[in-house]
Symmetry: C2
Subunit: 397 residues, 2 copies
């Protein structure tokens, strides 16, 4: 059993803030500042170049890969950290397409995070136009998998609505139809139980700065199933993915297994923050985290529907179709979210009309949810969002 | 006139260390730990998601791009930070190839950093085999530019020998022959005067963790000439390169100018360290830095050739053909470098036989060079490198 109160004490949460935006940028664990400072001063400052061996910087992407891997049901040695999620999407997709190159269609859905679609679009154009990206509505994704589909590329949990795909069923269907799967776990890793090995997923990618608390710009990760690890070709074939990076050969030879998915020099400072966060995540049972998240979500939905019925639920009611966030729609969603943030309840807004709230039980509890419901209900009751300062959009929304 | 002693006082250099490896990983400026800690605690910790606007994280890649840009002769608004150098090579190369797609050859040289060659190889294979990477010896690069060449992709300063290409002449020749240029400035930015605008370079890329002191895994940069900025297509088309990232459109539209070369979420902690370093670099005259580096290099060459003649100079003698490093060859180079490091003189080794030494005048002075010469001469005189502990290779060499 997770002692949620004890876990909450491990996070730094600013005074007066109820933070329901861990699905966008997770808060800091209390040990992160010292961990980062140690890497800066005691390692970079004192060891200089020797830090690559002496402080183990070079091995971090794979070591942290195993720790993240445990949370997503990955076999040891199948996950590596690095780059951004968009880059990892490109890498996985290019490898997957090459494995199934007689087919021409990348299938995705309109609920996928746009950057995944953009990267796919860019790859198709680079490949010269014979491939195409086909997007269908999320609920039609399963039925759209036919024998023209080379790769099924989906994000398990919709970044707007929180709607969750059935990863195992879709993967099974994809394999029956001869397609390869690329799953984006941006809203899954650290949010809900994922079983990549059990579902026989081919490739998966994700980020660590949301539910895994690695800080702004923390590294992404990539998973390659063991059965593909020695055959997948990394289209982004950088020196740290080479079989012998320090031999400085003129020709590329892919490294062993997942190591080949490394590209360039890892972001050592960001890795330090992730490592500190993983100390909190190690040993955590994701089924229990998700069950608690669903309880908090239900408390929130019930409270809002009772007290602010003008907000329309955008998240499926079924627990089986939910991730770790709840979204409501309102035409004035942007201004409402600004009014809410001004009162210290932080969620976020996604165009055109979605208010998103993340329920992350390691640091959010029933009292936080009660407060959020109360503040949001009051804002709706009094219409306090209807002020010019709340309507003016910031650069990042 | 640069006050070199005053600049040196701004860097943290460990006691007993003479650091001639700033060409691999630059040392820390003294303000870096506090700058990083501020971003971790006061920004991430307290502002959480609001940091993207409030702390200006989202604007950093372009603001820092201008500051790096000044050192490499780039026009304002033509440089942006992000990703790793390998990724930026791929991005520049893919864009350049598409601009010249009737031709089939990427020309590079065998002195280029292998990762650049690997990324090019990977791109060629992704493009389906009709393109090929041709590498010639560095001294033959100019003559090898003919009308079959789509893109000339070179690193200005050779990572092993320190040999410097004539960027302006090669670029002029490339343009005469109808080729596009991609210059890698890994060993140029912060090392010597670069004039991208004056030389009419098309694309340039580089890293910041060497001469620019951004710390291990610091972000890379990319330059696109203003004449290409609105037409170059980013093959790695991520959401932060979109014209309206927060509109979450389903289709990609490239952002204005250099902004389109952004891909995913920037590494905010690494950016903070770079920003601290740029405070030291702002206003520095690169011609003066390079002139002083050449004086230090000459002092070193003269000292070693007089006192350790068994080491063979690998760097050209001409100042016009030198970057900011000096390399010597010796069949036992690896063990010699280990023996040197054990005595606190840090350079590095590059297979098969190169000992590299970086001369970075902002924190290296004549006394450091004299010490390095003395220690290396003594190691060679007494043969102290000939011990088993110096011959055992570490993971990162």
């Amino acid at each position: 059993m997770i002692d949620f109160a004890a876990k909450k004490a491990l996070f730094h949460l600013p005074d007066g803030v109820t933070y329901l935006d861990g699905n966008s940028l997770g808060p800091m664990v209390k040990t992160a500042p010292a961990a980062v400072d140690k890497v800066v001063q005691a390692e970079w400052g004192e060891m200089l170049i020797r830090g690559w061996n002496k402080a183990g910087w070079m091995a971090q992407p794979a070591l942290l890969g195993n720790r993240v891997g445990r949370l997503i049901g990955a076999e040891p040695g199948t996950v590596v950290l690095g780059d951004t999620l968009s880059i990892k999407v490109y890498q996985a997709l290019a490898s997957a397409l090459e494995m199934n190159s007689k087919r021409r269609v990348i299938l995705s859905d309109t609920g996928n995070f746009p950057s995944d679609l953009y990267m796919a679009e860019g790859l198709c154009r680079t490949l010269g136009g014979q491939y195409r990206l086909k997007t269908v509505a999320p609920e039609e994704a399963m039925a759209a998998i036919d024998d023209s589909v080379a790769v099924v590329m989906l994000t398990e949990v919709d970044y707007r609505t929180g709607r969750r795909h059935h990863m195992a069923d879709i993967t099974r269907r994809a394999h029956e139809m001869g397609a390869i799967t690329v799953w984006d776990l941006a809203h899954s890793a650290g949010a809900l139980p994922v079983n990549l090995a059990g579902a026989q997923v081919d490739f998966a990618v994700g980020c660590t700065y949301k539910y895994l608390n690695s800080g702004p710009g923390g590294p992404a990760f990539i998973y390659v199933a063991p059965r593909h690890a020695e055959t997948a070709r990394p289209a982004l074939s950088g020196w740290l993915g080479h079989a012998a990076p320090f031999a400085f050969d003129l020709s590329y030879r892919p490294g062993q297994g997942i190591e080949r998915m490394r590209v360039g020099t890892p972001p050592v400072l960001q890795m330090a923050a992730l490592e500190a966060a993983m100390d909190v995540w190690d040993g955590v049972d994701m089924a229990e985290v998700h069950a608690q998240s669903l309880r908090l979500q239900d408390q929130f939905i019930k409270g809002i529907e009772a007290r602010a019925p003008m907000l329309q639920l955008a998240t499926p009611r079924s627990h089986l179709m939910r991730g770790s966030q709840v979204s409501f729609r309102h035409p004035e969603g942007y201004a409402i979210m600004q009014a809410l943030i001004a009162e210290g309840v932080i969620g976020d807004f996604r165009a055109p009309d979605i208010l998103r709230f993340g329920f992350t039980p390691l640091y959010i509890d029933e009292d936080d949810v009660a407060r959020a419901v109360g503040v949001l209900a009051r804002i709706m009751d009094y219409g306090t969002w209807d002020k010019p300062e709340f309507k003016q959009r910031a650069a990042v929304t």
